[in-house]
């Protein structure tokens, strides 16, 4: 039996591990090796350059520019998404209060949840291409709608305006993520016993107070996890930016993923691109550690 068990463990564990080691672990390890070379990627020739790439990285203001954009995404995107998510979820779950049963969801909340979730099931490629067309100055829906309702003066060349382009991309990220968190937070809220809300009602707590003092603390764990996942989305951002703006205008929407990609596949500098990857690995880890630290807070036990 012991022998059989060993064999069983091996047959079950080895194939996934091999696959994983080959395609996931080894590339991450190799990033370190490539990062110390000046390899161009168009010929097999490469030279060891040590930490030159890292040194170059610190002086590369394009990298810093991209990082700054990622940093803004990292702070703003999760906050806006979570706030909107909580807001809509609480509307749906406890929006129609003071029924005989006390606190309940608004009418049609199932329909809202159905619809809000749409962007979540769409490919980032579809979302990107769609919004690129949405923002087009003359043929896009946004300006078209503004003009149709007589607000033509608000029409902008959205993605062509360096002060707006970045926020336009950020808005798309929020747009595509909010629905998921409405459903996630909504599910969380449903597990909060109604009598807690009703007690708060009796105490005369308002809508905002209920959300801040009751719902949020009870959902804190979920919010925290949401933040970590959104942070990972924010650190990436590559696909949307590449499709919608290609980093423009004038690199104002550049993000680190796009920088890495175009350094490698556009400028044929694979060694340097790997160095960017290495730096990002550590940055990602720091953000994750930091996120867990910052969100540390005693959970309310029910």
């Amino acid at each position: 039996m012991r022998h059989g068990k060993r064999l069983f463990i091996a047959t079950f564990l080895v194939p996934p591990l091999v696959l994983y080691a080959l395609f996931v672990v080894s590339p991450y390890v190799q990033v370190f090796q490539l990062a110390t070379t000046d390899w161009g990627g168009l010929s097999p020739e490469a030279h060891f350059v040590g930490v030159d790439n890292l040194r170059r990285l610190f002086a590369d203001h394009y990298v810093w520019n991209a990082l700054r954009n990622n940093a803004i995404l990292l702070v703003v995107m999760p906050v806006v998404t979570i706030v909107l998510g909580l807001f809509f979820a609480s509307m749906l779950m406890v929006g129609g209060r003071r029924g005989r049963a006390g606190v309940r969801g608004v009418r049609g909340s199932a329909v809202y949840r159905l619809v809000y979730f749409f962007p979540q099931v769409l490919s980032v490629a579809i979302i990107g291409v769609l919004w690129k067309e949405m923002y087009a100055p003359n043929s896009g829906l946004i300006n078209g709608a503004l003009r149709a309702v007589g607000l033509g003066s608000l029409a902008h060349p959205w993605l062509g305006d360096p002060n707006l382009a970045f926020w336009c991309v950020l808005a798309v990220m929020v747009w595509s993520n909010v629905g998921f968190y409405v459903v996630l937070f909504g599910a969380g809220m449903q597990s909060i016993p109604r009598d807690i809300y009703e007690a708060a009602l009796l105490d005369g707590a308002g809508r905002a107070a209920t959300l801040a003092r009751i719902t949020l603390p009870l959902l804190w764990d979920t919010v925290q996890v949401a933040w970590v996942y959104l942070a990972i989305v924010a650190l990436d951002g590559f696909a949307l930016v590449q499709i919608i703006t290609e980093g423009g205008p004038g690199l104002r929407t550049d993000v680190i993923g796009l920088r890495l990609y175009s350094t490698a596949f556009g400028e044929a500098k694979f060694g340097y691109a790997s160095a960017i990857g290495v730096a990002m690995l550590f940055l990602t880890l720091s953000v994750a550690v930091l996120a867990l630290r910052l969100t540390k807070r005693d959970r309310v036990e029910l």
Partner: protein
């Protein structure tokens, strides 16, 4: 049936994230076990045996060696290449010719370059072309000298080099070696609808003052005088550099190409930038232009919503589905900035484009060169011009063909420009300088976020940055 209970998972979730982070740290720092070299590759030395070189076969093509051609499937499509391939096949019936076309040249071919098994001929063009600086400095391309010194297919007394338009080899020549053959010939100027101007009784302006005066008239008539390819604002760097070169002479362009210190800060460039900046300041640009890509802005222009646009002579082909009948597309040189311009009004930028390369690791290098020789024959060139309405680098190949209006106009102004035609190549030496840095500066200038002084400053900063970057190989020209 059960699943993880609520308390179970909520307790462990945070824990797990923590431990996962720790595992990530371990994996990221402690690695090294699995480090297998990615840079392997390098096979593919099984070159096709060359044929004997003689006067009938100056490049030593093996008759039966297969030939593989990869075409950039952009504005010109791929049909022209099939015609060239048929001509090659006619000469070498035993050779198998493989054809493919893609809009993503870089993604398609990068792996094959690393692998050492690239195709024999590549049209390395388009937004996703492979960076030439990288290709040349990493030794990935064949020197085209044997082709250029071979007799042309039409006249054995002339070498291929002698059949080309003057200056056609300049882009694609790196430190004296021609590594890419730019096949098309493009006039860069200001485009307008001949019909629109005639209907309104307007004249294309020869000086900048006249241009501004006309713009005022156009605006009063309720049209936008200008539009530009807002998402690719580098299109506006072309008239600016052209106007500057006409003002101070083409030497300033050599200085730019050679990344000489303060080349961009030359007064002429600032003067030219001021002129085009004026368009933005006076509100002569179609609102919303900065948010449009090239198709969108060119379509606005075709629809008569804007009168002038800067572009190269591929414009006619690009817009052929949209341009209304009787549009009479026409191109003109940039208006002279002053009366004392070093070059006459007629002078304009003409350059070859659409770079074809023969990779050094290609299996059939002689065949690749021979294919280019076929393309450069009068028959090959005339066929190309007929199919895609573009001139080629071959002298006089368009003679006797009926050209569409835009191309007729381009041919006419190029003839008038004659030996005053000028060009710059910094964009093919240092792709990023034009595509990213100058591009951004033009975007800022045309939307009035920076003034002309800041514009030349910003371009110069970009050039200095390239000059300082030791990882980019530098080229000089005279």
């Amino acid at each position: 049936m059960s699943a993880p209970s609520a308390s179970d998972s909520s307790v462990s979730r945070r824990d797990l994230l923590q431990r996962a982070t720790a595992a990530g740290v371990l994996a990221a720092t402690g690695g090294g076990v699995l480090s297998a070299c990615a840079m392997g590759g390098g096979g593919g030395n099984d070159k096709a045996a060359g044929g004997a070189k003689n006067s009938a076969n100056p490049l030593g093509v093996s008759e039966s060696a297969p030939l593989e051609v990869v075409i950039f499937n952009g504005g010109f499509g791929e049909e022209y290449a099939k015609a060239h391939e048929a001509m090659y096949k006619e000469r070498y019936p035993k050779a198998e010719v493989k054809h493919s076309a893609t809009i993503e040249i870089s993604k398609t071919l990068q792996p094959r370059f690393v692998d050492g098994s690239p195709p024999d001929v590549v049209n390395n063009s388009g937004g996703n072309q492979i960076d030439f600086n990288g290709l040349v400095s990493q030794g990935a391309l064949s020197d085209l000298a044997p082709l250029l010194d071979a007799p042309s297919l039409d006249d054995p007394k002339k070498t291929v080099r002698q059949t080309l338009l003057p200056g056609a080899l300049l882009p694609g020549t790196y430190d004296g070696k021609t590594m890419a053959l730019n096949y098309t010939y493009t006039a860069y100027g200001i485009w307008y609808s001949g019909k629109l101007l005639a209907d309104r009784g307007w004249q294309y302006p020869k000086t900048w003052d006249e241009m501004i005066a006309l713009c005022r008239q156009i605006k009063a008539a309720g049209l936008a005088p200008w539009t530009y390819q807002g998402k690719h604002p580098r299109y506006m760097s072309w008239p600016i550099l052209s106007a500057a070169a006409k003002l101070a002479g083409p030497d300033i362009l050599v200085a730019i190409d050679n990344l000489e210190p303060n080349a961009w800060k030359h007064d002429a460039i600032k003067t030219a930038a001021e002129a085009y900046y004026q368009l933005a300041v006076d509100g002569y640009i179609l609102p919303g232009s900065e948010g449009m890509d090239h198709i969108q802005s060119q379509t606005e222009w075709c629809r008569g919503n804007a009168v002038f646009i800067s572009c190269g002579s591929w414009l006619e082909n690009e817009q052929k589905a949209v341009a209304p009948a009787g549009f009479q597309m026409a191109v003109a040189p940039t208006p002279s900035l002053t009366k004392g311009d070093k070059l006459p009004f007629e002078a304009m930028r003409g350059t070859s484009g659409e770079p074809f390369i023969v990779p050094s690791k290609a299996k059939n290098v002689p065949g690749g060169l021979e294919y280019l020789r076929v393309m450069l024959s009068r028959k090959g060139a005339a066929d190309f011009t007929k199919r895609v309405s573009s001139l080629t680098a071959v002298q006089g190949a368009e003679e006797g063909l009926t050209l569409p209006p835009g191309l007729q106009s381009a041919t006419k102004v190029m003839k008038a420009s004659g030996d005053k035609t000028f060009n710059w190549v910094y964009n093919s030496y240092y792709r990023k300088l034009e595509r990213t840095l100058v591009d951004a500066a033009c975007g800022d200038l045309m939307t009035k976020r920076i003034n002309p002084a800041q514009f030349v400053e910003q371009c110069q900063r970009g050039a200095d940055e390239i000059a300082r970057d030791s990882s980019i190989k530098k080229y000089k020209r005279t």
